[in-house]
Subunit: 125 residues, 2 copies
């Protein structure tokens, strides 16, 4: 990783560490107002839409473990394990574009299937 | 990325380019006999189990686009878009450990939900 690259990764890691330790307001300080986030359910535009997607997820996280993190001048990639209330094994991967210390684009991949199954099981109770 | 790091990424990319261009046998030449793969449905141990998981997926791929790829001395991370027969938008992320030019460990993340929905829709026809 280049020295510049570490800046993108540093922002990505600061964001990750904040939400995963339940300081979601701190996490949002690393998110650009005009963020575009491609999530499994579709595209989210703007910090408010992103907050409504990521905030509830951050609340159900028991803990996370970083699997890997890399970056170059503008882009960082993270992969992590997440232990959540409904799904104990819920890993995620993110590819983040960082501009002026703020995350302007995020591609996030995770498996929605166990979350859907947990919702169905809860509804059936 | 260090010069050594490019070796891990080069192996990861060679593997990716082979399966995504439907040369799955070439792809398997980059996979260690004792690979351990953590996939959404669980852990796969050994090249044969890996082949039975990844081979059928490679067959239903229409095309892929690399979103990002990074690596260090031992580890590479890839994220890609995949257009598949049942699911047009099926991105994936991989964290690969490369030892002596072979992938010895792979963590792969993708969203199984649209694949399950496509199977259900097909079964209902």
């Amino acid at each position: 990783m280049t020295e510049n690259g570490s800046t993108a990764l540093a922002t990505a890691l600061a964001y990750y560490r904040a939400w995963s330790s339940h300081d979601f307001e701190l996490a949002m300080t690393y998110v650009a107002e005009d963020i575009v986030c491609q999530a499994p359910a579709g595209q989210l535009v703007g910090a408010q839409a992103f907050r409504e997607f990521m905030g509830p997820f951050a609340q159900i996280v028991n803990g996370t473990t970083l699997i890997g993190g890399f970056g170059d001048e503008r882009i960082a990639m993270l992969m992590y394990d997440a232990d959540t209330v409904p799904v104990r094994d819920a890993p995620g991967a993110e590819c983040l574009t960082v501009v002026d210390g703020k995350i302007s684009h995020m591609r996030i991949i995770f498996d929605r299937l166990p979350f859907a199954a947990a919702r169905e099981a809860e509804a059936a109770e």
